[in-house]
Symmetry: C2
Subunit: 496 residues, 2 copies
C-alpha cells in the first residue's frame, strides 16, 4: 500500500475546533504552513527542539504523501517583549546593552547557533525563514490597516488593538476558549500601561523610550512593532490571507495566536489558518522548562554532556527520538532515565536495521509485513501519532530479531518490504539519521587496534619478539603508538 | 615574536589611494568591515569562493592580531538588476516566475546553499548578515535624504541619483579613476531609460512594472530599491557612517562601490570607508568566469566532481588552498592541473604536520624557527600575502622532512615552535582544516583490517585453524565479514 494525496486519510487535531478533522488543503496539492520560530536571544534548549521536531514530522509526512509544502518559520529578532504586560524592554535589546553589542549581532549569533542545533537534529530547513526585523514596513502597514478600520487606537505614540471593541462583533477567545470577561477581571493595568484603554488590549506598535536602541521610524513614533503582528504580517505575505496550517507551542496559543486571529480578521477580513496545531510542553520533574524558570538545559549541553542535570552526553538523534516517543500533544517529562531508555531503544532499532542485511530468506512467511506497513500509515494519519508508529517499528524489530534467531521465517519479499518500512518511516519521515556508520566505525577502529594488541601480547607471552616488534612497527606506520609497561600495553594516536 | 595590535605593522592596499597603507583603525581595537555578499539567485561557484575566502583571511588575521572585528556581509535578495542599464527585471524575480515559486523561497534556498558551501570551505560566518529585502524602510529613508539634498530627482515614480550634478562639486570616479566625461561619451541611454536625465545616473528607487512581483510601497511608487543603495544603507546601519574596511570583488568597484561613495557623501556627509579592498577575478583559460558567460563551475560540482570540466572531485579544503596560493589581488586561472597541484601540495603539508609528532629532538639546531615565524607575519603584514606565507610554510615542510630523514637537527623548542607556526598560520589564519583525521582514519581502519587478515593468513599457512577461526569470528563481531577463496581472503562490511 502506498499512500498519496488522492487517497490520503490524514486527520489532525485542530485547536480551533478542538477535535480531529480530516486534512483537506485549501489549494491541493499545495500546502502552506506557518510555524512560530525562535526568539533569538539565547541558546536553543529542549523547549525549542520540540516544536521544531514536531512540525518537521508534519512537513516530512505531507511531502511524503505528495503535497507541495511551503513551510514558513520566522525568526523573532525584535519586538518580543520581556513580560506579558507589553511594557518593559525588548528582550534582545536588553542583552545587547549588557554585552555592549549591536542587537543584530546578537540576533545573528543566536540564529546561527539555532540553525547549527537544528541541523544536528536533522530538522529540515523551512522554505522561507523571514526575520521580524526585515518586515518593519509591512508591519507598519498592517497596523495602519487595523487603525484605519477603527479597531485600534493611538496613545502616546503607540498603537493598541482594541480587544473590547473587537469582541463585541467577533469572538476574542475563539481559539483559546477564554472568556474576555474573565480575562478583564483577572487583568490589572500594570505600571507603564496606563496608555491602554483596557488591560486586555495589545500593542501593534510601541513608541521606544529614549534608551531603546532597536527602533524604526513610523507615522506615530520612533519605535518597534508589537509581538503579535509580525506573524500575521509574514504569514500573509508568504502564504496569503488564508493558508492551511498554523503551528506553534501550546504556550503561544494565548495571547499570541488568539491575537493573530483578531488582527487578521480585521486587516484581511478572515481568520488566517484553516488548521491550528499546538505541540505540548516539555517538563522537568513535572515543572515547565523555561529560561525564566532557570531549569532549562540547552541543546549544546545535551550534545556535550556539560550540565549538572545530565549524567552523560546525548547524541542529537537520541534527543530527536526521545521527543518523537511522545505524541506532540502530550506533555513530555525529561529525565536522564527517559533519555537513556531512548538511547537504548534507538540502538536496538538501528541494530535490527543492520541485521536485515544478513537475514536468510525463506520460502515461507510467518508475518504479514504489508499489514505492518499499513499500521504505520494509520498511526501517522491519526494526528501524526509518532509513539504508536514507533511501537509498530519495534514490532518490526521483534520480527527481524526473531528471524535472525531462526524463530520465524520471512520471504525475500518480506525482507525487502521490512527494509522499505524502515527507510520510509524511520529515516525519511521520523528523520532519524543512521549514525551506526560514523559512530561505530570509530568504535570498530578502536576494537581492531585492541585485537591486534591482544595478538601481539600473545606473541610476547610466547616470547616471539620478532612478531611482537613487527606488529608494533606495523601499527606505528598506521599512526598508532603502542606503549608497553608492567601493566600491559596501551596505545595512542601519533598526533592529536 | 608575537604580533599584536600595539606593534602591528599591517599594511594593506587601499583601492582608493592606489597604494599600500599602514592599517590604522578608526576606533582601535574595534574594526568594522563590510563585504558585498552573494546575490542569491543561483548556486555558488568558484567566483563566489574567492571574495568569501579572501576576506575570511582578513578577518581571521585581524582577530589573531587582537582586533575586535565586526564583520558585516550582506545577502542581496532583491534589486540586483539583470544588466548595467538599470532597466530589465530583477534577477531573482525572473527566476521566480520561471519556477513558479515565491521569490523569497528561491532566495532562501540559494542562501541556504551558499551557507552550506561556505561552511564546507571553513569560511567563518559574518557577525551580521543583513538581507537587502529586510531593509526596505531604511533604503527608502536613505533615498529620501539624497532626494531632499537635491542630488536626486523623481522621474515617473522612480528616483535617480544625479551623477552629473554630484560630479560638479565632488569626484564621481574617485575610486575607479574613471572620468565622468568618458563615461558619458561612452554611454547611451538605452530603451526604457528615457526617464533618466543622463545615462550615468543610477536608480535609488525603481517603480515596478505591473508584472513585477517583488515590490514594496514607497512615497513615490510601488517598487524596489536600486542595487547600490542597499550596501550604503546596511553598512551605515551596522557599522556607522564611517568604518574601516569595505571589501568586494574587483568587478564591483565600478559602478557599485563608486556609487556607494557618492550616496554616502550626500546622505552622510562623508565617504563611508577608510580602506577599500578588492579581490581579483578567477579566470578559466584566461576568460572571466561568470554565469552569463556559461563557463562557471559550481562549488558543489567541485565537491562532487560532477562536471565535464573536472577530472575528479576536489575536497573543499583543496579549493580553499588553491585560492590562497594566489595573492587576492592577482588573477587566478583555473585548471585541473592547478587544482591537482594544490591537492598534492596540501597533502605534503599535512603529512609534514603529522610527522612532527614523531620527530626525535636533538640538543643542537640547524634552523632558525623564530625567524621563520617572523617571515610568516611579514608575509601577512604585506597586504595579506598568502602565497608568500605558504612558501614559508613549505620551508617548514622541508625542515620537518629533513629532520625526519636525520639530515638536519632540531631542538625540542624548535619542534614546539614549528608546531605553533602550523597551528597559527595553517589552521587558525589560513583556516585549513586538518582532514588527516577523518579521511585517513577510514584508511587506517581498512589497513588495520588488512593487517589482521594477513595475520590470519599466516595462521592458516601454519595450519593453525583454531587461530584462523578465532580471528574470523572476532572480525565478524566487529561487522567485518571475511571471505576465503582460492585467490586469498577478501573482506566487506556486514552492512552498507
Amino acid at each position: 500500500m502506498t499512500n498519496n494525496i488522492t487517497n490520503s486519510n490524514l486527520h489532525l487535531y485542530n485547536s480551533l475546533s478542538r477535535r480531529k478533522e480530516k486534512f483537506v488543503p485549501i489549494h491541493s496539492p499545495n500546502v502552506g504552513i506557518y510555524v512560530c520560530g525562535p526568539t533569538v536571544y539565547g541558546d536553543a534548549h529542549l523547549g525549542h527542539a520540540r516544536p521544531a521536531i514536531s512540525f518537521d514530522i508534519v512537513v516530512r509526512y505531507l511531502r511524503h504523501l505528495g503535497y507541495k509544502v511551503r513551510y514558513v518559520r520566522n525568526i523573532t529578532d525584535v519586538g518580543h517583549l520581556e513580560n506579558d504586560a507589553d511594557s518593559g524592554e525588548d528582550k534582545i535589546a536588553k542583552k545587547a546593552r549588557l554585552e555592549e553589542l549591536e542587537p543584530m549581532e546578537i540576533a545573528q549569533y543566536y540564529s546561527d547557533n539555532y540553525h547549527r542545533d537544528m541541523e544536528a537534529m536533522n530538522v529540515l530547513k523551512p522554505s522561507i525563514e523571514p526575520r521580524a526585523s526585515g518586515h518593519i514596513q509591512e508591519q507598519i502597514e498592517f497596523a495602519e490597516k487595523i487603525l484605519n478600520s477603527g479597531y485600534a487606537y493611538e496613545s502616546n505614540g503607540s498603537i493598541y488593538f482594541d480587544v473590547v471593541k473587537y469582541n463585541k462583533t467577533n469572538h476574542y477567545g475563539i481559539l483559546s476558549g477564554r472568556n474576555i470577561e474573565d480575562v478583564l477581571t483577572n487583568s490589572r493595568v500594570l505600571e507603564g500601561q496606563e496608555e491602554k484603554h483596557n488591560a486586555v488590549d495589545f500593542a501593534l506598535w510601541k513608541k521606544a523610550s529614549p534608551e531603546h536602541i532597536m527602533r524604526w521610524h513610523s507615522p506615530w513614533s520612533d519605535g518597534f512593532p508589537g509581538w503579535h503582528i509580525e506573524c500575521s504580517c509574514m504569514s500573509t505575505k508568504y502564504l496569503g490571507e488564508n493558508f492551511d496550517i498554523h503551528g506553534g507551542g501550546m504556550d503561544l496559543l494565548f495571547p499570541h495566536h488568539e491575537s493573530e486571529i483578531a488582527q487578521s480578521v480585521i486587516a484581511n477580513g478572515n481568520s488566517p489558518a484553516k488548521y491550528w496545531m499546538h505541540n505540548n510542553m516539555i517538563t522537568i520533574n513535572g515543572q515547565k522548562m523555561g529560561k525564566s524558570l532557570g531549569n532549562f538545559i540547552t541543546l549544546q549541553d545535551f550534545f556535550s554532556g556539560k550540565s549538572d542535570s545530565l549524567d552523560k552526553a546525548y547524541d542529537p538523534m537520541t534527543i530527536r527520538f526521545f521527543i518523537l516517543q511522545a505524541h506532540y500533544r502530550s506533555t513530555l517529562d525529561f529525565s536522564n532515565e527517559a533519555l537513556l531508555a531512548s538511547e537504548k531503544g534507538l540502538n536496538k532499532l538501528m541494530n535490527a536495521y543492520k541485521l536485515m542485511g544478513s537475514l536468510a530468506p525463506s520460502s515461507k512467511s510467518n508475518e504479514n509485513i504489508l499489514a505492518l506497513e499499513q499500521k504505520c500509515y494509520q498511526a501517522l494519519d491519526d494526528d501524526f501519532n509518532t509513539p504508536i508508529l514507533i511501537a509498530h517499528i519495534f514490532d518490526g524489530v521483534r520480527i527481524i530479531n526473531s528471524a535472525n534467531d531462526k524463530k520465524l521465517m520471512l520471504t525475500t519479499e518480506d525482507i525487502i518490504n521490512l527494509k522499505k518500512i524502515f527507510d520510509v518511516f524511520v529515516f525519511d519521515i521520523l528523520g532519524m539519521k543512521n549514525q551506526y556508520d560514523s559512530n561505530s566505525k570509530q568504535e570498530i577502529t578502536e576494537n581492531l587496534i585492541k585485537l591486534i594488541i591482544d595478538i601481539r601480547l600473545e606473541a610476547r607471552a610466547n616470547k616471539d619478539w620478532a612478531e611482537s616488534d613487527k606488529l608494533r612497527d606495523k601499527l606505528k606506520s598506521l599512526g598508532v603508538i603502542v606503549k608497553d609497561s608492567k601493566e600491559g600495553s596501551s596505545w595512542e594516536w601519533a598526533i592529536e
